[in-house]
Structures are given as structure tokens and as C-alpha cells.
């Protein structure tokens, strides 16, 4: 299958299909350098795109060099949002550190929290009750829908489809209402604990969530009816920002970007964590590696996530009175009511809150499929109450590395569609 750019006259008219050869810039893979001949001709304009530009998803700065409308040089400058999360987490007890990973990517908060909690649990070797496992899955899929909705709304907004934003934020609000119902907050929930969940699932959540699963597919139908056959949308997304399968792997791309380049790879299927091997879902794969296919993958993933949520609800409704957190008093806070009657519970509570629990010495790397791709969490413990080292493999950072390759032969207007399609969250890039 071959794809060539639909835009005439960008480069040679008989541009080779993208699956032949690599388009990764030589020498420095993440920088598009202006050909010397073009620079000598003296007709290259260097401009700053960002860091404060409404379509840079935060504070991304791209230094681009233009020859007419063509982008001939590109260099990404990141770090404006660097807040030292990894360093801060080394100062906190394991228990307190759980609040940080969700804040690095404020759209995929639940998935990031899951990655870190799974890493702690792997070091602790703690058994998690099945109710907690299924609820984690449910919330992670709700979170995936939330993240994709924000992506769709903003990516469409940036290339001119303003109405899309209002439609997607309608469903997004329903998702956040569900989060608020379960956890008390709309974002940055800190609902996952080492050992299970922080609280039991509230009464009334299942019917509310069921109502959402009926609403969501209609929402996706509506979005598709807005843009799927929209001439402007197609013109601005098809054949733009091409990334071949080999280049995507070489550049470490994951998640929707990788799947839009024709690689059938999803950690939920290929390296199942939680109970993803017990639910039925499909991994959408598209083959053109352009902006339009990334959009298609996002849309289909929202439908598949809704299907997973329904299956989670079916299971969870049969687990009403089961425990939601492991019964391990060295790690898990004792139930609140016990504090009034049991001295031991009070001591455990005090010890966990003041000095934290100790995690056995070791190093683990845990990867989960966040809405943006492989979110990895490398954690080192020295056996003490605080992490020795925490490092996040941020899928957004890696996605930005592909900008130079995607931007080969692109126009300046395509830049916005391409950067949008890579779905980066700058909080996660800079950490």
C-alpha cells in the first residue's frame, strides 16, 4: 500500500511511496536541517512557533525555517514546563508519591497513576482483589475516552473545526462527572492505592456509567458525521505527516501513532496487565501513517473502550460486597472505623501516614498502554520508605521526536495538523 502526498508541487511530483526507505533525518534524527544549497540561496526565513501559541498544546517551541510556504528546517525546543517531578518523588514516601505521576500528564492521569501503582505492587509482591482490578480497568478506559475526546476537540479546533470542540467537551464532562462520583475529584484522582482502591465504589455509579456507555457511541457517531466526509478535514489530514512502519519503530513511537502506521501493537493485547486478557476488544490498525489514520485510530479506540467499560460493569455488578483493597496492614491503611476501637490499627495508621511503608529493594520497569502509548515507569527502591529513583518513559516525549520525520515536505499549515496528531501533552514531555 502506498501513499503519496495529495498536495501537488511540494516536492518532486513523482515522490516515492513512503514505505520505501527511511525519512528520518540523518545524523540528528530529531532535527530537520535546511539543505545547504537552499540556505546559500538566502531565501530561508527562521521563525519561532511557540512556546506560547494556542495550537502547541502547552509550551512547545518549534524553531522552523521556511522557504515560502514549505517547512525546510525544524527543531523542537522543550523543557519550558520542567518541574522536576522525578526529583520531587525521591523526597516523598511511596504513599505520597502516587499523587505525582497523574499530574505529569493531566489528560491520562488515571493510566499514569496505574503505571506507578503497578510498579510499587510489583516490588511489594502484593495481591490485589479482583474488584479493584476490574475497577482500575474501567477507570483507565474512561480515562482513555477522556483523553481522546480532548485530543479530538483540540486537534480539530486547531485546524478550524471549532464546533467539534463543543461536542467532545459535552461527553468529556460526562466522563469527569463519573470520576467525581467515584473519587470526589474530576481530575488527578489519586484513587489507586498500592493494594487496591482508596474507597469503595459508590452506590449509583453503575447505573450512571451504564447510561454513559449508551451515550458515548452516539457521540462518536456525531463526531464522525461532522468530520468524516468533511472535504476540508480530509484535505487537511490525508497524506499529511507521513510516518512509515519502520520509521515509527525506529523512532520508538507507540500507541495511536504506531497503530496508524500499520503496526498491530497494543500492550493491552500483547503484554496484558490487569484483566485485559479477559475482555473482548479489537485493536484498530490503519496503514497510511498519516494524520487522518491517527484520527481514525483515536475514534475507533473510543468505541472499543466503551465496549471494555460495558464488560467491566458486567463483572463488577457481581462483586458488590467484595473487598476493594488488599488486607495487608503493613501497606494498606486500616478501615477508618477500626481506629476508634483497635490500638494496633491506630499504630498502623500512624506509621503508614508518618513514615510510610517500606518497599523491598529492587528495580522494576512497568509499562502500561496509556492513551498516548507506552507509559513506562522505572522504579528503584533501596528498601527504605522512599523511592530511590523514579523515571517515566513519557510517550509524549517520544512522539515529539517524530516531528522532524513527519514534517518532511510539509507546508507550514500542515505543521499544526501534524503536531496535533502526535497527541503530545507537554506536562509529560517536560516532567
Amino acid at each position: 500500500m502506498t501513499v503519496t502526498s495529495r498536495r501537488p508541487g511540494i516536492d518532486a511530483p513523482d515522490r516515492p511511496p513512503i514505505y520505501e526507505g527511511t525519512r528520518i533525518p540523518a545524523n540528528i534524527p530529531t532535527i530537520l536541517e535546511v539543505p545547504q544549497a537552499l540556505r546559500d540561496a538566502g531565501d530561508v526565513l527562521e521563525i519561532n512557533f511557540g512556546p506560547n501559541h494556542p495550537s502547541t498544546h502547552g509550551v512547545l517551541r518549534l524553531v522552523i525555517e521556511l522557504s515560502g510556504e514549505r517547512v525546510v528546517g525544524l527543531r523542537a525546543v522543550v523543557g519550558y514546563l520542567h518541574t522536576g517531578f522525578e526529583k520531587t518523588m525521591e523526597q516523598k514516601t511511596w504513599w505520597k508519591a502516587i499523587t505525582y505521576p497523574e499530574r505529569i500528564d493531566y489528560l491520562a492521569f488515571q493510566n499514569n497513576e496505574l503505571g506507578f501503582v503497578l510498579a510499587i505492587e510489583k516490588l511489594l509482591g502484593i495481591e490485589v482483589p479482583r474488584k479493584a482490578t476490574w475497577m482500575r480497568m474501567l477507570l483507565c478506559e474512561l480515562n482513555r475516552i477522556h483523553s481522546h475526546l480532548v485530543w479530538l476537540g483540540t486537534a480539530a479546533l486547531e485546524i478550524g473545526a471549532i464546533s467539534m470542540f463543543w461536542y467532545t467537551f459535552r461527553e468529556r464532562d460526562s466522563v469527569l462527572d463519573l470520576f467525581e462520583m467515584v473519587t470526589g475529584v474530576r481530575m488527578h484522582t489519586r484513587y489507586f492505592q498500592a493494594g487496591g482502591l482508596a474507597e469503595d465504589i459508590p452506590i449509583g455509579f453503575y447505573p450512571a456509567c451504564r447510561a454513559f456507555t449508551r451515550q458515548m457511541p452516539k457521540g462518536v457517531d456525531e463526531y464522525e458525521s461532522l468530520v468524516d466526509r468533511n472535504g476540508i478535514w480530509l484535505e487537511r489530514t490525508r497524506g499529511i505527516g507521513l510516518l512509515s512502519a519502520d520509521d515509527a519503530i525506529a523512532l520508538g513511537q507507540s500507541g495511536p501513532v504506531l497503530r496508524a502506521s500499520g503496526i498491530n501493537w497494543d500492550l493491552r493485547k500483547d503484554e496484558p496487565y490487569l484483566a485485559y486478557d479477559e475482555v473482548d476488544f479489537r485493536v484498530p490498525v490503519h496503514f497510511h501513517g498519516d494524520v487522518y489514520d491517527r484520527y481514525r485510530v483515536h475514534m475507533e479506540e473510543m468505541r472499543e473502550s466503551t465496549r471494555i467499560i460495558v464488560q467491566c460493569l458486567d463483572r463488577l455488578e457481581g462483586m458488590q460486597d467484595e473487598p476493594w483493597i488488599a488486607d495487608d496492614r503493613k501497606v494498606v491503611l486500616p478501615p477508618r472505623e477500626e481506629l476508634h476501637t483497635s490500638m494496633e490499627s491506630l499504630i498502623h495508621h500512624f506509621k503508614i501516614v508518618t513514615e510510610g511503608y517500606r518497599v523491598p529493594e529492587g528495580e522494576v520497569y512497568v509499562a502500561v498502554e496509556s492513551p498516548r502509548g507506552e507509559f513506562g515507569c522505572y522504579v528503584v527502591s533501596d528498601g527504605g520508605p522512599r523511592p530511590w529513583r523514579v523515571r517515566f518513559r513519557a510517550p509524549s516525549l517520544v512522539a515529539l521526536e517524530a516531528t522532524a520525520t513527519c514534517m518532511t515536505d510539509a507546508l507550514v499549515a500542515d505543521l499544526i495538523a501534524i503536531v496535533g496528531s502526535l497527541d503530545t501533552v507537554m506536562g509529560e514531555v517536560d516532567r
Binding site: G79, H82, E90, Q91, K122, D246, D382, G384, L400
Partner: protein
């Protein structure tokens, strides 16, 4: 192209866990903990080992590069790490800290390369290289282009000099920043304030 997706370079599955990596060039030690395989590789032969793992073992996907500083591992008095604001020492033996002393580490820094093979079973392997302060490590950008920013980050935040990197500049901190913030001896708090009224 097949219906399942673009042709991946698949390598035949080999049996076993850690022992299947015995052919890796420069291999010093193999560990298997928590179901994860760690290959400790001699630093000068890192590139050779990476090429072997990619071409012969099918690890075409580099997930991550993490640098770790083990200065003061299991000891007291590392700047910023022992004692809280009120001065309480919570990491001494038999008080409120370690249950036992952690295993000593061979050198100060570890570079961890997390590799993934995109095939059934999703095998992962961690290549670990031990380095002293300011000891160089070869860049793996020629093997996996995605290493570009990861290695810049290791240099920026941990001060690992990566030899042969095409563009080894700071990535998250400013270009004129002094020091490498993720090192254990980097002070916490009290950094010089820019744009203060005194200047």
C-alpha cells in the same frame, strides 16, 4: 503487506529466560528479578551488545533509557536525602529506615536501556551499564534513533557524557544551567534566584 500489519522483522522464538542472552557480546552478569531480565554489559562493548540484541534477538524497539545515580546507596549523609526539614534521620538502620542494608553497587551510575521486541509474548530486556563519574558511554543513536532525546536527558539531568551523540545539549534545563539536577549530590532548594532585586 499482510492483513495483520506491516511486516515486522520477526526472529524465531528461543526457549528459556535469562540463559538465552548468554551470547550477548560483553556480557558481565545476567539477573532475573520480578520476572525481568537484566543484562549487565561491559561499557566499552555496549554498542556491540545493542547491535546483537537488535539484529539477532529482534529487539527493534527501544522503550526507554534511564540513568540512575547510586551515590550514597545505603549510607547516611547524602546531600538532601537523609533527614527531613526538621532534621530527623529516617534512614538509619534499626530505627525507622531500612530493614536491612541494600546490596552494594559496582559503580556510581547505571544506564538502563529498556528494550522490547514487537513479537508474541512481548519479551523485554534491560541492558545495564555501570559508569563512574564522568566516565563516557557510547551513544546508541545509530542503533535506535529514538535514543536521541533520552540520551540528551541523561546528560542534562544526570550528567552522563554520551560519546558520539550527534547533538549532546541540554534538553529540559536551560543551556547555561550549572549542574545536573537528578544527581544525588545536587542540593535541594536554595538554588540561586534569577531576576532578584539585588542584581
Amino acid at each position: 503487506m499482510t492483513a495483520e500489519g506491516a511486516p515486522l522483522r520477526r526472529t524465531p522464538a528461543r526457549p528459556g529466560g535469562a540463559e538465552r542472552y548468554l551470547g550477548v557480546p560483553g556480557l558481565v552478569e545476567t539477573k532475573e528479578e520480578h520476572g525481568e531480565v537484566t543484562l549487565i554489559v561491559d561499557a566499552p562493548r555496549l554498542l556491540e551488545a545493542c547491535r546483537y540484541l537488535r539484529d539477532d534477538m529482534g529487539f527493534w524497539f527501544l522503550s526507554d533509557i534511564s540513568a540512575t545515580d547510586y551515590l550514597g546507596w545505603g549510607e547516611k549523609e547524602v546531600a538532601g536525602y537523609i533527614g527531613t526539614a526538621s532534621g530527623r534521620d529516617i534512614n538509619t538502620l534499626s530505627s525507622q529506615g531500612y530493614a536491612r542494608k541494600p546490596e552494594p553497587k559496582p559503580k556510581r551510575f547505571a544506564m538502563n536501556y529498556h528494550l522490547l521486541a514487537l513479537r508474541e509474548g512481548a519479551p523485554r530486556v534491560r541492558v545495564q551499564v555501570w559508569l563512574d563519574d564522568s566516565e563516557q558511554v557510547d551513544s546508541v543513536v545509530p542503533v535506535w534513533p529514538t535514543a536521541d532525546w533520552h540520551e540528551r536527558e541523561a546528560w542534562d539531568l544526570m550528567g552522563i557524557p554520551v560519546a558520539g551523540h550527534p547533538n549532546l545539549t541540554r534538553i529540559l534545563m536551560e543551556d547555561d544551567w550549572v549542574g545536573h539536577p537528578l544527581r544525588k549530590d545536587y542540593p535541594i532548594g536554595g538554588e540561586p534566584v534569577r531576576f532578584s532585586g539585588d542584581e
